[in-house]
Symmetry: C2
Subunit: 496 residues, 2 copies
């Protein structure tokens, strides 16, 4: 078969797959943002049927033959070659694991997640422990099966699903550096930050919070012809490139956290909206991986929107939105509020400085659990030990300890490191953007994100998955991941 | 293969199909109610990929062998037998038409529908005529291909997709009777109805209209744990049995039409919510067909909610919802408003009495077009002639004539008669319900729909597709479709 022909077959086939993935994304959005409670049981059946149809299509044996043939011929240009690599990666993930193991894990995850919800509510790890042990046992089998096909360690085979090509050596080195840096830095930052900032007094009606959120989304560059803002219990960014759905949740007593959450999700959304249109339905046209995705949300949230220039621009808009009065609404006070450091137990509520400690703990633990160096029974004690060592605090119960995150209980092993890889990547990209265009930071200060967005479109969004994460970062910033840029950012912001 | 085994295979297979149909229904709801405009292009690709996956699964050759085998063995009980019939019907529809013809028609429909939108806006039939002729040419081929496998005429083969087992002989007879009855009746009704009713003065804020709609949906029996009310340009009922999504659109100058639209869609929703749970994912557990579906919306709208007892109950709620004052809010005036007869050009705005004339016209025309007795070029003249004969008015332009409805341009041929079959069925079912339980009508007068709903659950909703439409109606009312019940209803309401 000539190259063009087998290539066209593969592109047609993967376009069908991508479209079904988009359908699944809209269904997930609906589940979180729209579905009434009575629909839950049927929804899981609908989702499973859709995923089964997708899996059957992806894992057809002829796809493997087409890939062999196309790879044997070589690709005519770099994007096609990268597309072929991404197709192969997806096909390998889909076919590496025997289907009875996939099904057993899906069932175990579903039971474990349900049990976890109750266990967390009761703060009773023992209740879910056997279910988690069952999940882990199956996850280890999946990891070994994938590692045989992908190369690398079993843990890396799981990581690869979220962070394609991710390697523990690189992560270990970066996290070791942060681990050495953080405890001393946190102590310094706490000492420097002074007394508590003033909290703007509420209530803040949801409709006004929503209006302000929409306004600032527009300032950041969100295209409302191609997206929406809605409400869900856990904020996320979903949908598809032409129709990005972000969500938030509102607290009428405190607008600051929801608002910053909206700007975080807007960062994710801008990445999706900026992916290369000419590769719209191909694997190479999709987002690079979770660390790059998180780097885009954190670049907008942490680097741009928690900066003094942005908060100086936004403070009067916030004050005006709620008719606020008094010193709590001063830009300086809002900046202090949005950069407050406080070691605490819950990852999702953590500030920029202590967040990596939560992630490093989880990364170490899941590596040990997947690799077999640790068992589920040891988790609460290991968690307490790690929190003590990294943040100097010990959670008073399991709900504020190893029961707080859904990931492991729902089967997402190998995901955690991408949060902090994303934070470091964000710092490095933002630093490069500011160097490349001197108007990036002043632009942010006057509510003009176009210089920043222009650079990101060219250097990150428009690249899709045509480069590896390392290549992407090296082309955009001149070097691979370098934790010192993140550390410099923290020093400037918290000790400067 | 033993019966149980082939039967289980079929049930598993059709359960997968049903779940994918539900996914498609949610996607369609999203398209109409949620999607931002920029998502339209990608959405049609996503929808097409989903339908292709469904079609491939349904039309697999082994499904035909399983059906042959299962039919050869006979079914253990009536529901399984009916399920087998419904599976066969779906499989036949899916496999009767060569896939290149299916694709050619899908492309032609898509182009024609787009052209139609512009042609309707310009009121220029000539603009879309060649596109419609192309669609009709392909529809005739599809109809012939399906008729060869299903038996019956080509038109009946199209009708069967909306009205399973529908036959023109029965429809012709019923419509001929109505056609004889209507012109004289309309004249009498117009004479009897007196001067125009008072129109409650607006504006009516959307939020208050929505609240009132939700309240009355609750009165009718809508379960908000298993459904939602949203906004779309064309009101409809979508989603799935456990999660029914209805929509409306609001006019701040006039609440009456949107409100009645909500009650109409609630009738559809109650049918879906009442389908037999134990056959949840099987073809036999789905709605019987479009005439029965429309009978449920029209039973609630026309029979129950435009009745004097209901409007006497609802008038104070309407007045209270909008803080209204004066005689326009009297129950008697609202009843006159909601039963006003006025021959006009647009089907969707037509009243209960003149509506069948619009449908009969379209039914005759599409029969002639599909059968080859008429060509697209003759449509505007035939339309004018029919309107003159049936309603005594001639549309001044094509926008108010043969361009007003999307159906033919989008490929929905054989759908129109189900509206009026539904209206007649609604009258017959409501009459039977009132005879079976003397509290049905008094219940409606005090806002208690439970006696009505109880009867419908037992006689219609809970039957799913276990009976043919004729059998369903005969078991529920003691006889097959009888237009005289509808005529009696009209006489009582408009001349009584």
């Amino acid at each position: 078969m000539p190259y063009a022909s087998v290539h066209a077959k593969l592109e047609n086939h993967f376009a069908r797959l991508t479209k079904l993935e988009d359908v699944a994304a809209f269904l997930d959005w609906d589940t979180a943002a729209m579905m009434p409670p009575g629909g839950a049981g049927s929804r899981s059946e609908q989702t499973a049927a859709l995923r089964a149809a997708h899996h059957e299509l992806l894992s057809r044996p002829e796809v493997g033959s087409w890939l062999d043939e196309a790879e044997g011929m070589g690709a005519p240009e770099p994007w096609s070659a990268a597309n072929l690599r991404e197709m192969r990666r997806r096909w390998t993930h889909a076919t590496a694991v025997p289907s009875d193991l996939v099904e057993a894990l899906a069932r175990a995850e579903s039971v474990c997640e349900t049990t976890w919800r109750e266990a967390r509510a009761r703060s009773d790890f023992a209740m879910v422990r056997p279910r988690l042990a069952e999940v882990l046992g199956l996850v280890r089998q999946v990891a070994r099966a994938k590692a045989e096909r992908l190369g690398g360690s079993p843990y890396e085979a799981l990581l690869d699903a979220y962070e394609p090509g991710g390697r523990c050596g690189r992560i270990d080195a970066a996290f070791a550096e942060l681990e050495a840096f953080l405890p001393g830095f946190i102590a310094q930052a706490l000492e420097r930050q002074g007394g508590p900032p003033k909290v703007p007094p509420g209530p803040f009606p949801v409709s006004l919070q929503r209006e302000l959120g929409l306004r600032l989304m527009g300032v950041l560059g969100f295209d409302f012809e191609r997206g929406r803002l809605d409400v869900s219990h856990h904020p996320f960014c979903g949908g598809a490139q032409d129709d990005v759905r972000i969500t938030t949740r509102y607290d009428e007593e405190n607008f600051t956290s929801s608002l910053m959450g909206v700007l975080h999700e807007t960062g994710h959304a801008l990445y999706e909206m900026g992916l290369p249109m000419e590769w719209r339905w191909q694997p190479v046209g999709r987002a690079r991986g979770m660390s790059v995705h998180e780097s885009q949300s954190l670049l907008f949230e942490m680097q741009a929107c928690r900066s003094r220039p942005f908060l100086t621009f936004a403070a009067p808009l916030m004050r005006e939105a709620f008719g606020g009065e008094g010193p709590a609404w001063d830009a300086d006070n809002l900046y202090r509020l949005y950069t407050r450091v406080r070691p605490d137990f819950i990852r999702v509520d953590a500030d920029e400085v202590t967040y990596p400690a939560h992630v490093i703990l989880r990364y170490r633990l899941e590596q040990a659990l997947v690799g077999g160096a640790m068992e589920v029974d040891d988790l609460p004690a290991a968690w307490a030990e790690g929190m003590e060592r990294l943040l100097g605090i010990v959670p008073p119960d399991d709900a504020r300890g190893c029961l707080q995150d859904i990931h492991w209980y729902a089967g997402a092993w190998g995901y955690f490191p991408t949060y902090t890889l994303g934070a470091m990547t964000a710092a490095q990209l933002f630093d490069a953007a500011c160097r490349a265009d001197a108007d990036v930071l002043p632009g942010i200060g006057r509510g003009d994100f176009s210089p920043l967005l222009r650079w990101l479109r060219a250097s990150v969004h428009g690249k899709g998955s045509s480069l590896s994460t390392d290549e992407l970062l090296t082309q955009a910033t001149g070097r691979p991941l370098d934790p010192s840029v993140f550390e410099s950012h923290l020093r400037r912001r918290y000790l400067g």
